[in-house]
Assembly symmetry: C2
DNA sequence: AATTAGCACTCTCGTTGCGAGAGTGCTAAT
DNA sequence: ATTAGCACTCTCGCAACGAGAGTGCTAATT
């Protein structure tokens, strides 16, 4: 370990203070540390060390005669240098895996479950965005007449995503014609990405051309930077934390999760640039986000780079169990990555089987 | 109007107190009423009348020397007997209609928009369940090979609902076989409801039988009493209300919207028995729901009776603008009903056009 | 030189007391 | 039946105060 400017003892004390404060939400007094852990020190020594840590900027006291609490910088140092990365305990891992295996194999069920698991494990709020398929390719199109001029367009992508759109034609068209059109388009577009679909030349058939345009729009919509679907859970957990008993802070925290534009700008500035599997920790506002001033977030991307990715994370008070939450987020992200890879992998296999 | 045991003046005073308290969230004093509205009365007379209303149980005072606030009973009387039903002002109606017309014609977009509109208009939290199609009939089935043993099943109902399910077969099957199977099943099941599908005899083909079983399951899932999808919005608005500045009350209120089982039991005991277009008002816990003790809800069903229905509503503090919220909920419910009818109407027309 | 015991000092927090103000309830007059 | 007038009650904000918690500093100890 590099010389970080702190003695081992100072690191120990900082760690213990973070640990105790995380547990009790009360400023930690020198005597308190002594009674909880049997250190070979006197309270006076601890006080001296604490004074140094205050000087450095890792601790502060709410008022003159109170114990110490970590500053945001203190937490950052703790998370970056002191905390040992642990893996999630085996029983927890098994329990989570089991819940996933018991779920219907549909994306939105998985997202919901992931959000629920994260909320429970972290005792905070959770946040999951559905996997965003970049460069997903056209797989199949179906046109179904519902009544009169109204038809349903169902577009299936190679990723297994299904997009549907209801549309009203200028005049009624028979189901047979629709099916024929759908088949034609399917033949033309199979395995094309948006670019490919855009490049298809006009078919001299108004209906076909119209539908192809709509397919393109639909494909375009589904390849934005941030998925339309954001799953949340555990908002109540956040309100339960003592730091959010004042409604002002509570509102600030919930705003992050409720207001889409806010959340999207946050995600795009942080986790969207990071690699799959890397867990990002945002401690306090970091100077950028007013709304996060009382909160921390632990975020990670999951999926396959350049193909299909989403974001998972938890939000809680700055005084959160970083170690535990990082492990949980990493584990859940890993599970979701596996799911994405399983469903997305090797689309060419399909053709192999078709050739049989 | 029947003799309700109250003099006209008492009704007036009760109305004004409800109105003022709704506006200011402060106990209403006799002098305050005089200064706000120019009544031909003295404060002493008002005090006498207020004393009577306290006796009856429609008002109470937080403490001896405070103004009066309505009791739950008082609100109920106000909503049931005193409040005049107004329609939503024209500009508001037009604005809402316009927002709907600008939205992509997809169910979930509409639900989201409805929730957003209700949250904004009521300045409270809103709640929308997707339309639940009862007796919806089979329309079309598609089976698409994704890779190897994994296939995607897409089921379209006459209502325009699309259900999808990924499944893994025991062994890989060629896309052509899948398409043939899908066609067979579509032919067998078209326009059948669950009973009809259940009644279909075995086809002596393991794959076909398997898929039919899954179709049945999928149809079964989608015809439960309460839809899987619940849209919420405006949770933050609730926290902004002064009565929820204490986190205890705020948590209670949010629990109703966050905890599925709670919400479902609430809905099933109230709005599910009511008719389309009728707006239900739940004021306070009504003795049944501890969590609602500080809140009121305004709920309505929308859709077509016996065919496809959903629920819309708002949640706010007991001190809410009932008149306004009832109008808003009724209007939005009406809009959604129209949408349901438009998309659901006359499925037999489809065949008519097919015969052309 | 580092650690510690001892103690004075500071600040919070809960309690108490008090006065002003708001609003009522009652009584007596209209 | 209504109202003016007034005494009464209760809240709220403020100040004072003492107990307790925890520190910082100094001087003694290892």
């Amino acid at each position: 370990m590099p010389n970080t400017g702190l003695t081992t003892r100072q690191k120990l004390i900082l760690s213990l203070i973070v640990k105790e404060f995380t547990r009790t939400a009360q400023p930690v007094a020198s005597n308190h540390l002594l009674s909880e852990y049997n250190l070979d020190l006197s309270s006076a020594t601890i006080r001296n060390e604490m004074a140094v840590l205050v000087e450095i900027g890792y601790l502060r006291q709410p008022h003159t005669s109170a114990g110490r609490i970590p500053t945001e910088e203190g937490y950052r140092f703790f998370v970056g240098q002191l905390m040992q990365q642990t893996e999630l305990p085996e029983p927890t891992r098994r329990s989570i895996t089991e819940q996933f295996s018991l779920t219907r194999p549909e994306t939105d069920e998985w997202m919901r479950l992931a959000a629920s698991v994260l909320a429970n494990e972290s005792q905070g709020a959770s946040l999951v965005t559905a996997p965003q398929h970049i460069n997903a390719q056209f797989k199949h199109l179906e046109l179904i007449s519902l009544r009169g001029r109204q038809i349903l367009m169902v577009l299936v992508m190679t990723s297994g995503e299904v997009h549907q759109q209801m549309l009203t034609l200028a005049e009624p068209v028979a189901q047979e014609t629709l099916s024929a059109t759908a088949n034609t388009i399917t033949r033309l577009c199979t395995n094309q990405d948006i670019k490919g679909v855009t490049a298809i030349s006009s078919q001299n058939d108004a209906l076909t051309d119209d539908i192809i345009r709509m397919v393109k729009d639909l494909m375009h919509q589904s390849t934005g930077e941030i998925s339309a679907d954001i799953y949340r859970d555990g908002l109540l957990n956040v309100l339960t934390q003592p730091e959010f008993s004042e409604s002002k802070h509570a509102r600030q925290a919930l705003r992050i999760l409720e207001e889409r534009p806010l959340l999207e700008s946050l995600l795009s500035q942080t986790v969207l640039n990071s690699d799959i599997g890397v867990v990002q920790v945002i401690i306090g506002g970091e100077g950028n986000w007013e709304e996060l001033s009382e909160c921390s977030m632990v975020l990670a991307r999951y999926g396959m780079n350049g193909t299909a990715t989403g974001t998972v994370g938890v939000l809680g008070p700055i005084r959160m169990r970083y170690g535990r939450n990082i492990s949980t987020v990493r584990f859940v992200a890993g599970l979701l990555s596996e799911i994405v890879m399983e469903t997305h992998n090797l689309p060419q296999n399909v053709e192999k089987f078709e050739d049989e």
